[in-house]
Structure formats: C-alpha cells, structure tokens
C-alpha cells in the first residue's frame, strides 16, 4: 500500500520529506501552489504524484486556484453551473492538458462539492466532467491511468439507497482505472470513533476493490491504518488537520473568518494517537520512561529537549509524523488476513500502553486512545463479514 503526501499550506515540508524518501508521491493542491510554480518543479516530485484539481466549488477563487488554466472563472467571469453546458469540453481539455504537461502519474477527473448530493449530481458529473474528460484523453491517445475524484458524504455510507447510487455511479465509467476517494468528515473528535461509519467505509472500499479499481484515499488521518485492512492502493499523510480530514471550508474564500491555532501534538505509532504536547510534558514529570511511548526519528531528540518550544507552526512534529506513519504503513503485512491480525495485536498493545499511562497521567478524549476499542470492534465485524 502506498502513502501519498496530501499537500496544502507549507507543502515544502511534504516535498522535503518526500525527497528524503518518505512517502510514495504527492497530491498537489492548486489553492496552495501557483500553477506555473508547479509546472517548474523537478519531475522527480511529479512523476509518481497526481493533482487534486479542486473544482469543488466551481468558481470560488481561493488562494492560487485562479492561476490554473482550467479554472472556470478564467473562461468566463461569474461562471456558474449553466455555463458548464457550453464549457465542459474546454474545461476538460485544459484540465487534462495541464496534468499532462506536468507528467503526473495519474490524470484526475475533477468533481464538484454539493451540500445535498441530489441524483442530478451524478448525472451532471458524468455529463460535465467524466465524459468530456475521458473522451479527450482517448481522442488524443494519452496513455495515462485515469482516476475519478469522488467526495463520499457520510450519507453515502449510512443510507443503503445513497450508497448503491454512489457505488453504481463510480463503477459505471468503463474508461476510469481508479478512484481518488475523499471521505467527508463531520466529526468533532480528532479520531473517528463511529462504529457504523468506519465499518461502512471499509465495505465501501472493499466494493471498489472487488470491482478491480485502484483506490486512493485522500485526506486521511490515523484511521488510514484501519482502512488498510480493506486493501486500498494508497492512503495519505498530511501536516495540518485540514489535510487529514476533508471539510469544504478549506476551499471557501471566507475573509476575516476566525482562525484558531491548534495545540501542537505528537503522533505515536505505538499508541495510534496524536498526543497533545501538554500531556507529553505531564508524562515527562510522571513517567520515567515516557520517551519510550514515542517513536524514534531524526526529529525526536530535538523535540524532547527541555528547551524545545512546542508550536503548531514548527515542522518537526509533522515531519516526525510523516516518517513514523509512513514506516507504520510500510510495515503492515501484504496479505489481508495477516494485516488484520497484526493490526488487532498492535491495537491491543496500544490499549495496554494507555492503561499504563493513565495510571498516572490523565488524558482527554482526544489524546487517550478512546477510539481504539471501537476500531477493534470494527475490525472484528469486518473480519466476520469476510469469513462469511
């Protein structure tokens, strides 16, 4: 299973890590990087990577999105949905041409974000994006794999009719090789603890794999390792939370919206958890071997020095995460059943470790591994379905 860097703000951290051998490619983000600058990047950064076209809101010119030739606002000011009737071919051509010019590994078909996802959403997506995109690729004999980008809303997982509709649509495109899945996340907790949501996600991925599609999952946090048991082709790693959890706000040009600085956190592969640095400070006082709960990396010695000032803008915790999580993913067994058993074993170990920590250090719900029992239950339920 591959690991892609979901890039965004401070994408240089991802690029630096990738050039140091961490991850298998990058997913580039147009709102964060100028189109010409991306064209100028060394091919080594792009040849195993792909573009997230980010036409989610069609005409919202967030960040540098307007520098991309296929951005609809460049074709017509105040571009709106009805304009797609006449412009879909042109957008498809410009979008394909830009991706081909960058020589990315995959060509990605854009998708739009829709609050309610009516049935017409899929019909329009086919007419305006999938068909013109595929026809242009085919007509020009472009020999690259095509990924369909899909935002999977929670209702597409929980409601059978919506799920069938989404799966029938995704699998209906004969020329598409795979899917770039983006699971919309409306949860308040930092880790996903919803049994039904997680189990349905595994089922969703499994169906696509049974259809022999490549499945690349973007915007994943640590639940990516749980998703690994459904055998996707790749998951993603990202620095800030908005790159590890998809929300449309990231693509809305909201001026003067309040910004909340997140607490710095450190990921531990032994705990399957990001731990708030304040608890790390407490652990340091109360647990003599506190460092053993965290993975070794080139960044660890610096972060564990007394003078290290924890701050969300510092690169070390994120680069540490890239390194640790990439290794964690790379160490999982190839065979599905072995993968499942190994993950169960590791999750049980993590729960035991949390018990040791919580004997002396109290943790809040976003640091205490409270998602782990649910993950174990999800794995057991999924395994039972596989056995049947």
């Amino acid at each position: 299973m591959k690991v892609y860097h979901q890039t965004g703000f401070r994408d240089n951290w991802n690029r630096e890590s990738y050039l140091n051998g961490i991850g298998d490619g990058l997913i580039f983000s147009p709102i964060n990087i100028d189109a010409d600058k991306l064209l100028g990047f060394d091919s080594i950064l792009k040849v195993n990577s792909f573009l997230d076209p980010q036409l989610y809101l069609l005409n919202e010119a967030k960040g540098t999105l307007h520098t991309y030739p296929y951005f609809p606002g460049n074709l017509k000011p105040d571009f709106s949905t009805p304009d797609l009737d006449n412009s879909n071919l042109q957008i498809a051509q410009l979008c394909v041409d830009y991706q081909v010019a960058n020589n990315f590994k995959y060509l990605v078909i854009p998708t739009r974000y829709n609050e309610d996802n009516p049935t017409s959403y899929f019909i329009q997506s086919t007419e305006f994006f999938v068909l013109p995109f595929c026809e242009y690729v085919r007509g020009n004999n472009i020999n690259k794999k095509i990924l369909l980008s899909v935002i999977v809303k929670p209702i597409m997982l929980s409601d059978e009719e919506k799920r069938n509709e989404a799966l029938n649509w995704i699998t209906s495109h004969q020329q598409v090789d795979g899917v770039y899945l983006i699971f919309e996340n409306n949860f308040n907790s930092k880790q996903i603890k919803d049994f039904d949501y997680l189990l349905n996600t595994l089922r969703f991925i499994s169906v696509l794999k049974e259809n022999q599609m490549e499945v690349h999952i973007g915007y994943t946090n640590t639940e990516a390792i749980l998703y690994s048991i459904a055998m996707p082709d790749s998951i993603s790693i990202g620095s800030y939370e908005n790159l590890r959890s998809f929300g449309i706000k990231r693509f809305q040009d909201i001026e003067n919206s309040p910004m909340r600085a997140p607490n710095a956190r450190l990921y531990s592969s032994k705990l399957f958890q990001w731990i708030d640095y304040q608890y790390i400070t407490a652990m340091k006082s109360l647990l003599p071997s506190y460092e053993d709960f965290f993975d070794d990396s080139e960044f660890k010695p610096l972060m564990f020095k007394p003078e290290f000032k924890w701050h969300f803008a510092k690169p070390e915790p994120y680069k540490h995460y890239f390194y640790v999580f990439d290794n964690q993913i790379k160490s999982i067994p190839i065979e599905q059943i072995c993968r499942i058993e190994k993950l169960k074993e590791d999750l049980r170990s993590a729960i035991t470790l949390f018990k040791k920590i919580e004997n002396v250090v109290f943790l809040d719900d976003n640091s205490n591994g409270s998602h782990l029992p649910t993950w174990l239950n999800v794995i057991n339920a999924y395994q039972r379905e596989l056995d049947n």
């Binding site: 029938n168 699998t171 004969q174 259809n211």
Partner: protein, 239 residues
C-alpha cells in the same frame, strides 16, 4: 435481401443522444451485426424505420440444443462479448439481449440484431407484456430496466441479459421461471427479487455456469463485472 423494421417511438427524451447513437450504429461494419442501410427517426409521426441486411441462420431460440454444454455456452459467450464490446466501447448498450435477437450463422458465428431499438421503447408498456417472445420482452431485462432507472443503464445491463441467456441455455428453461424456482411469482417479479434456479430436476449445477450467473445476475450493477474486460477474462478462463 434486406429486412425492414418499423415501430413507434414512445419517448423522445435525450433525442440528440439517440441520433448520435443511430449514426454510430449505421457506421458499424462487423460480422457480429447486420449491416444497417437506413435508420430514420420521424419526429412528426413518432416512428422509426430500419432497413438492414437479412442474416442467414437460425435464432438462438431455435438453436438452444446446440449450446447445452458449458464449454459451448462459454464459447458462444466469448463470441457475443467480442461483438458487444464494439458497441460498449462506443458507450452504447444493446438493452434487449435475448435468444430471439441472436442469429447463429451457418458458420456458427452469432449475429446480434435489433441493436438499439430498445432505446425507443417505453418500458412501462413492456413490463405489462407477459409473452416471452415479443419484442423487447422484460423477462430478459435487468432490474434497473424494469425499475425504469435509466441512469443505471450501462454495459452491465447487457451483462445481466447474458447471464439469463447462459443459464437458460444450460438449464433448458428460463432460470427465473416460477415453475423451477418453486414459487408463484412471475418471471419479472423473480428478477426483481433476484430469485433464480441454478439447477433443475434433470440438470445438476455446474460450477462455472453458477459462478458466471452469480456474478452477472446481481441486482445492483456494481456487484456485477465492472467492465467487459473483466467479463472476458472470466469467460476465457472457462473456455
């Protein structure tokens, strides 16, 4: 010698797409299809007219006894999918595959007729038809056709038809026939409820045929083979 087919058009939705489809079909030059000399849609009279070459041979309905063995069934399926791939590649779905619409030429090669006609027929009227030999009969239709869910119609709809045909060849009877599944529903109701037989009192199950039917006769298209390459791969492994 030519065959002239005329019929009423019940629906003009997506007329532009239909016209494109008709043009594509007229350009087809393949031994798997009769050559179309003329295909016209009269918007005023709401009628279509097709003039196509006459194909010598017997319908599959009249040749069923020659395709009872699994190896013969899969050989036929292999030829049919080769022919159908030509239209599937053009985003065209036959929509009305059944033994009456397949002519077995004297050489043994199948020829697929009535291509695209189902596009013009009102399925609501069809579902009321109970004759198994009428044009575009629903007893070979996939659930999405019976539900009139046009958005779901794609090549996997044709896969469902091939699933029924193959199982009918093997069993000698329609697999959704209430007399062999042992209920009092109609064939169409059994299709909707996905109740079918894999063997009869005189024909025992065959693993390859069962596997093919199980994969093609799923209610949801996403549960079937995703594309004809996957379908072909399976068939070629059985030949």
């Amino acid at each position: 010698m030519v065959v002239i087919k005329r019929g009423a058009i019940k629906s003009f939705t997506s007329l532009e797409r239909i016209k494109r489809e008709v043009e594509l079909l007229s350009e087809l030059r393949s031994e798997y299809y009769p050559q179309q000399h003329h295909f016209n849609i009269d918007v005023k009279t709401k009628e279509f007219e097709i003039v196509e070459s006459y194909i010598e041979g017997k319908t599959l309905r009249d040749s069923m006894a020659e395709f009872k063995e699994p190896k013969d069934i899969f050989r036929l399926l292999s030829s049919l999918t080769k022919g159908l791939a030509i239209i599937w590649d053009k985003n065209i779905v036959h929509r009305d595959l059944k033994p009456e619409n397949i002519i077995i030429r004297p050489s043994g090669l199948p020829c697929i007729i009535d291509l695209g006609i189902a596009r013009f027929i009102d399925l609501e009227a069809l579902t009321k038809t109970i004759s198994p030999i009428g044009p575009c009969t629903p007893i070979y239709a996939a659930p999405e056709q019976l539900n009139n869910n046009k958005n779901l119609i794609d090549p996997r709809t044709d896969f469902f038809g091939l699933g029924i045909i193959s199982l009918e060849l093997f069993l000698g009877v329609h697999p959704f026939d209430p007399n062999i599944v042992g209920n009092h529903y109609s064939i169409v109701e059994n299709i909707m409820q996905n109740i079918y037989a894999l063997e009869t009192g005189s024909v025992k199950q065959n693993n390859s045929v069962t596997e093919f039917a199980s994969k093609t006769l799923k209610t949801q298209p996403y549960q079937r083979f995703r594309n004809y390459q996957m379908l072909n791969d399976f068939i070629s492994q059985q030949e």
